[in-house]
């Protein structure tokens, strides 16, 4: 096994603070390397430092050894000639990284022509061969907009390595993907590993780390706390943080078994609802009766219409068939929704205090109810003076929960409420959500692409798509 790249004492700092502590690692041919950590732990900064892509104001130090050469990480720009030729990046959400007005094959061809200096017809053949090998030969003449997400990902992958790079850096390659798509990406990355290259994966996804295998480093607050063989680390975690991380994986949750009280008049009844989008039947003939305090899970692959179902129940979307009946005598404002991306669900430029005050004023609520609820949701008082983009995703999602709880909801539709949160935060948030819903007799419709999460938390499950 040969070492493709060696990084010594890579660190990131500003003039005031050290953001990433020095860390050394080496990338071996045929062996993936994964850095696992939560948002803000500095794992992406480390990768950016290695590539020389740090944002302005941040500085790196350390050395990078590649093919017998040593580069100084403190001088960004020296890595530039490695880009595409030796090291390439698989972008997050690759379909956004492709040129929308250029055919797939031409985008792959460019790497061969301009980085490997192949003649144009040789380059075309090479690009063709790559696309064929990845099973997307039919994408050749298509524009990225005409490709499915999975195909676009393959094309982006082909384009990323057309320059001949044997080291691929993948930053959160599975962010927001469902299980089927995640397996596709992993297969794509493993193909590179089997071919004698190396993949450096940056992720917060435990399942991805497990499936990649190879070496694993766990990062917490800018420091690598644990490192070793991936399967070994995950089976016998030494550091407390790693243990908590593994415990927070939905697979390892305790099943919340609570007596299901089917008493109480239904708050919502749907009969025979169906929805078609873009000529594709999402679902049809769905009957659903929701009673107070019930927790119902909805699973299905992305694009299957999970969110549409919830939106129809809330009256935000019109069904093509069937109807939704709400309980009479209950205010329309007691049917609420939690969003996937918490920052996108608040007025961006108002402080949280302002947003809550607006709500209190509108519904003439008692302001004294806020403080105990905040305590219950473990939200610190000082967060109120911040804007939505100045608090963490987990905190903001709890604020969103606080906001809807003020209206005493009878039905809450939570649309992938934790898919953008880290594992530990996800567990906290879901637990709180379920607990409060039970306590207040609020029906909860929980949508998630994560079947384990749904299985462990919900009374019953609807599977669509």
């Amino acid at each position: 096994m040969s070492t493709l790249m060696e990084v010594r004492d890579a660190a990131v700092h500003t003039t005031e603070a050290q953001l990433v502590q020095p860390f050394s690692f080496s990338l071996e041919a045929g062996r993936p390397f994964t850095i696992l950590g939560e948002t803000g732990s500095g794992k992406s900064l480390l990768a950016q430092a290695v590539m020389g892509l740090l944002p302005e104001g941040l500085m790196a130090s350390g050395q990078l050894g590649i093919e017998g050469e040593t580069l100084d990480l403190g001088r960004p720009g020296s890595q530039k000639r490695l880009w595409g030729r030796k090291v390439s990046i698989l972008p997050q959400e690759p379909w956004l990284a492709l040129d929308p007005i250029m055919a797939a094959q031409a985008q792959v061809e460019e790497g061969y022509r301009f980085l490997r200096n192949e003649e144009s017809d040789v380059a075309r053949q090479s690009a063709n061969r790559d696309l064929q090998q990845l099973g997307v030969a039919e994408a050749r003449r298509k524009l990225p907009g005409q490709l499915s997400g999975g195909m676009a990902q393959r094309v982006a992958f082909a384009a990323a390595r057309a320059g001949g790079a044997r080291i691929v850096i993948a930053d959160e390659p599975t962010k927001g993907l469902d299980v089927a798509r995640r397996d596709e990406v992993i297969e794509l990355l493993m193909r590179e590993v089997r071919a004698g290259g190396c993949v450096l994966v940056i992720t917060h996804d435990l399942a991805l780390a497990r499936q990649m295998g190879g070496d694993l480093a766990i990062m917490l607050e800018g420091r690598i706390v644990e490192q070793g063989e991936a399967l070994e680390v995950l089976a016998n975690p030494a550091h407390d943080y790693t243990r908590r991380l593994i415990a927070a994986d939905p697979e390892n949750w305790q099943t919340l078994d609570v007596e299901i009280s089917s008493a109480g008049a239904p708050v919502l009844e749907a009969t025979g609802i169906g929805k078609t989008r873009g000529g594709k039947q999402l679902f049809s003939g769905v009957d659903l009766t929701i009673r107070p305090g019930e927790i119902i899970g909805v699973t299905g692959p992305s694009g299957s219409g999970k969110s549409s179902l919830g939106d129809i129940l809330l009256g935000l979307l019109k069904p093509d068939a069937g109807q939704v009946q709400r309980a009479t005598g209950i205010s329309i404002h007691r049917y609420q929704k939690l969003y996937q991306d918490p920052p996108a669900a608040f007025p961006a430029r108002a402080t949280l205090k302002q947003s809550l005050a607006d709500l209190v004023a509108l519904h003439q609520l008692e302001e004294v109810r806020i403080a105990p609820l905040m305590q219950r949701l473990r939200l610190a008082e000082h967060l109120l003076d911040r804007r939505p983009d100045q608090v963490s995703g987990g905190e903001l999602q709890r604020f969103a929960l606080l906001r809807v709880l003020l209206l005493d909801p009878v039905f809450l539709f939570a649309d992938e409420p934790t898919s953008r949160l880290d594992l530990i935060t996800q567990q906290e948030t879901v637990e709180l959500l379920v607990e409060l819903a039970r306590e207040r007799g609020c029906a909860l419709l929980l949508v998630s692409h994560d079947t384990a999460l749904i299985e462990k938390t919900c009374d019953r499950t609807i599977s669509i798509g």
């Binding site: 404002h333 609420q336 929704k337 991306d341 007025p347 430029r349 906001r403």
Partner: protein
């Protein structure tokens, strides 16, 4: 060290630009309105023995071909230009923004109808529209004002419509509606904070183009009629005396230049995409 300095320069340069613009504009406003407060020469009073006299310690700006005080005439012309430009921008901005939000909100027929009206107005060159209106009712500043506003509102309408549509479709607005908030709240909390900075900047550019339009119309003797002092009109009046009194011709040109420069500096491009609220 070097990257920190890098990070600071844009902000510094931005505030320098803006304060320079503000400084020039404030100077022009003081120059224009001071005579109203402390009193000054009558811009219409002729005295032929001063005809085309160059600037002196008694009269800093000299006299024009009819012996009228250039200082008084420049001040009066500035008041007219600035006032008319400001009025036009406000009159264009308010309906432009409201119609833009309406079109983005309701979509469908309303969007297409307002869009069609704005596009048909856009098909005419702006200056031509103003020219037509002033030709119908000559020598009336109100027509000038109406014409300029009619040209300017389209910009605000289109920008507002384009900016407001994604905001109105965002989960944040959906959440606010579910929580029971009405359209006024959504405009106040969601739409306006996001679009105000861009629209105010557009307003400064609009004022600059209004000033240019007024001067251009004066220059072709369509806008304001003599003897009313107006910058474009002053230029055309003083053009024949260029040989004897270049200072007189250059003054209104310099004033327009400064005014447009000040507004452009104020409106200028911001370096970082993000604006602080």
């Amino acid at each position: 060290m070097s990257s920190l300095v890098f990070a600071q320069t844009p902000a510094l340069r931005f505030s320098l630009r803006k304060s320079l613009g503000l400084f020039i504009l404030a100077g022009l406003v003081v120059f224009a309105f001071l005579p109203l407060i402390i009193g000054g020469a009558d811009p219409l009073k002729q005295s032929l023995r001063h005809s085309l006299q160059p600037p002196s310690s008694a009269a800093w700006f000299g006299y024009d071909h009819l012996g009228r005080s250039m200082a008084a005439r420049l001040a009066a012309a500035l008041r007219l230009s600035l006032g008319l430009a400001l009025l036009s921008v406000v009159t264009a901005m308010v309906p432009g923004i409201l119609l833009g939000v309406l079109a983005a909100w309701r979509g469908g027929f309303i969007d297409r109808a307002i869009g069609a009206v704005s596009e048909s107005l856009l098909a005419l060159p702006g200056l031509l529209l103003v020219l037509m209106l002033t030709a119908i009712v000559p020598d009336n500043p109100a027509m000038l004002y109406l014409g300029i506003s009619l040209v300017l509102w389209i910009e605000y309408f289109r920008v507002t419509r384009a900016l407001a549509r994604p905001i109105l479709n965002s989960p944040a607005v959906e959440a606010s509606r579910l929580l029971g908030f009405g359209p006024v709240y959504i405009l106040k909390r969601h739409v306006w904070p996001e679009i105000s900075a861009i629209l105010l900047r557009l307003g400064a550019f609009g004022a600059a183009s209004a000033i240019m339009a007024i001067a251009a119309l004066g220059f072709v003797s369509v806008g304001v009629r003599p003897p009313t002092p107006e910058l474009g009109l002053m230029m055309i009046e003083l053009l024949p005396y260029y040989e004897e009194a270049p200072h007189a011709l250059l003054q209104p040109i310099a004033v327009i230049f400064l005014m447009v420069l000040a507004l452009q500096l104020l409106a200028g491009r911001q370096n970082s995409g993000k604006e602080t609220a």
